[in-house]
Symmetry: D2
Subunit: 289 residues, 4 copies
């Protein structure tokens, strides 16, 4: 007697554009009896010649397991078309590790939405270089690891963080206003899987004290940017941005408060897009389906 | 010797959801040698069970003409799957008829963007129940027809309008602040092809004098709505909406001025979506890909 | 030896417009040695003929107490000019009573911002017709009162609520998604001091299930409205509104989630404006300085 | 028999903050029988210690002429308090000179709103380094001056422009996408009276080709900035900014089109604020009341 497999998959694809890609993928799915629940596609202009696609499909009572699906897709579709591809399954709860320093607003927002069920992830740990957010973290039942960083111990502490992340089986990291620069060790271990919230509308005011700079420059809008972390500081692929209107009435402290609200929202939207496998990173840009 | 056909097509599809639709369509296209340039799909939840898709494809040096393509698609794909479908071609410039009364801002915006090449349509005529916008219209080289409407002559004038529209081979109509209610005669002759700009954020303040009502009610946002016209006044499928922030400082006249800006933008975005075959009307709602 | 008084005051004024009001008020303040920190004024058009003003002033080492200030202002300025007026002091922390039912997002947002110091109020109690938010409330160290409401006990429970509010010296109330209609007893006891968050962009979709209605109508924007409560349901003076963009991709549940985010933000902004004495209610409208 | 003067004035004031300024000004106005129609005030934090105010007042059937008003205000209020001040009168139609190159969208928007009465200015001339917009300009009945600029003739042409501006009695200049850098000669002749629209959300992407840069960087928002021109390129005081949301679907050309829409709106809002004497420039920032 055969086992019947029922699952939903999310397929992300990037390859050189050419006729027949959609047909090939959808034909492959149809032959297995899969129903396509959602599909989005993007082709760049002919000069770049790139093809991106996200397909969500469902198999019900199939005799194809996930492993069999992946092996077959690789062999008959992905490899022949030289695809960069990725698959994940909504019933696989991604495991999120959060890094935070002393600002609590982004951490709070994530934990709260997580508890309400809006963020369908597991959060096995929060790592911080300060003790101050231990209480909040543990009140949500999440282990809190205090790893203070100095110039001397930075390498050791990062190694320790990496050990914790590995032990916890972390799938992706969110830097929820973590005020340390992650070393290439960690960054290169999770390419396209570390999300940072930058307290500025990048590329304006990259670096520290953006609200002070915004005030000094007298801008009429301030913003925040969520991006994947690369080893180029503040230069990684942008996932989401937003702004709010300000005026001469906003003192620097007002800008900071308003900025926190934008940061919370922008970070949340970026994290949700990542969880739902909506983001393809290509070069230094994102396609967010 | 065969003729070689090269064309781009935009296919809009609505049918009951079931496995294999994407595969069937993309396989059909692939078999003809077509390249899919853009594809979007939307499935409603299983209770509604509807499938919507927009596909943009390109055939190059093919031996399939448009007529042959359409006949073949109808027979081998659309009919078997009981699709509601529509195809149009970007190189077919749609023919737009504009109705207007005395407000010039929406007419101006459309004509200006048309002249700049942003709206890829032909505009064979403007019909108005006032003489006042003849000068502007004719300065763009577009024929202007003055059809004043009274209770007595309304039927006759609408028949006359319909004759003009038919003679001009109009594909779709924009009511650019036309202050008459179109009779069912015209409305039913062009279902899903008459776009109205309503000077309100529907469903709030449906009907006349919305800015006066907004002022009286003290709302903090005012808006505008572009929708397809049906015989239910202000109740047709919404294509696009937007709002702007207002305060106690805005007198009614200020709301009117600001409203005009929103109307121009909202109408433009709706008209562009229609021109690019991005809108599927289903029941009283739109899917705008 | 005299006592030296140092305080900041916020003066809200509404009266018939006529020459000399600003001069009279600012002259009065200057004569006492007060510095004007912020001033905003609004005159309606001559037909309405109304004058509104907010002035923030500071007295340092003055021999005028608050009581003396108020008495003198009443006698020499407010009464002669027949002003509706109100004064409050930033160092007087307003006392906020929160009513809530089962949705936690608005309560959470308020308590969180309160703990961070962003909302400079005391919160002596939360009243709910459900037990479910006791844990959250008490984790912030705030007393939680469970007053379940049935048709039979409604009058008694409201009397009980009023007793609690009075005993706690409540200055204003926030209905943070409280799903009961407050009786005229409570409403009329605190005119212009009960803030409700309505889960809709009023006046569209007043009443229950606005997100279902928004979905059915296919709107492209959804919103939320914070308003003062009057005995006309959903008709009280609007303080703040906002919207978010939606599309056919949003199922009703998505609209609900997105709506919660807008509700949180709109309610917060309205509550802050109230705390800072920025709102004047006149008739059924607000002036928010 | 005395002449009776009736006029409305707009007073802009900047000075060191100290008690009694509002009282002094409003008392001065009241003593002349003036009614204050609108007043806004802004004090920076004590460290900066600056006071800004805009007052709109009305004198009816007064025996004080504008000249007498200004002389008296200077002597009895402005000089004693060491004010930077400026007065203008709504019935004085400011004279606007427009510089433009080949892009027509900003010019069109300004001329159109001017004709509709929305911009209460006179426009005695348009100056361009291209011939291409002569037709549009002259169709509005406005003289068009073609002053092509080369490295060799730049000084001579700017002198010629200055002669034209002076002869026309220009009050302020708008650079409606003028692709030349104005020489210090003109810039320093009209400090705080030359408005430029920059096709970027400054300070990001200052300089040329911002949409190409925005595309390359993969930003999710693009913007535009209206600012006063100083001799520091792109660094002058910002008057107004706005943004629009973009995605991977926007090719560079799409960004350019969308950018034009933002530029039109941002420039219009900035020009209106300037016409209504709402802007005070202080250092490199603006206060926009």
């Amino acid at each position: 007697m055969k086992t019947a497999y029922t699952f939903t998959g999310r397929l992300l694809i990037c390859c050189a554009d050419r006729p027949g890609i959609v047909a090939r993928v959808s034909q492959f799915l149809y032959a297995l009896g899969a129903n396509i629940l959602d599909a989005s596609q993007h082709s760049t202009d002919p000069k770049e010649g790139l093809f991106f696609m996200r397909m969500v499909f469902q198999l019900e009572h199939s005799d194809t397991s996930r492993e069999a699906f992946e092996a077959s897709f690789r062999e008959t579709v992905a490899n022949p078309l030289q695809m960069d591809w990725h698959i994940d399954y909504p019933d696989h709860r991604k495991r999120l590790g959060i890094f935070v320093s002393a600002y609590d607003h982004c951490l709070q927002e994530l934990l709260w939405r997580w508890r309400s069920g809006e963020l369908a992830v597991d959060i096995p740990l929060v790592i911080s270089n300060h003790e101050s957010l231990r209480g909040i973290t543990e009140s949500f039942g999440i282990p809190f690891h205090y790893l203070p960083v100095t110039k001397e111990n930075k390498t050791a502490q990062e190694a320790q963080a990496l050990t914790l992340l590995t032990a916890a089986g972390i799938d992706f990291i969110v830097l929820a206003r973590y005020m340390q620069i992650l070393s290439p060790l960690i960054v290169s271990s999770m390419p396209g899987r570390i999300i940072n919230i930058h307290h500025s509308f990048l590329p304006a005011f990259a670096g520290a004290r953006p609200y002070q700079h915004a005030y000094t420059r007298g801008v009429k809008l301030i913003g925040a940017t969520a991006h994947y972390v690369t080893n180029e500081l503040d230069e990684g692929p942008i996932i989401e941005q937003d702004v709010a209107r300000v005026s001469h009435r906003h003192a620097v402290e007002d800008l900071v408060l308003l900025g926190k609200d934008i940061e919370r929202q922008v970070l949340t939207r970026a994290v949700k897009a990542h969880i739902d496998d909506r983001v393809i990173v290509h070069g230094n840009k994102t396609i967010v389906f």
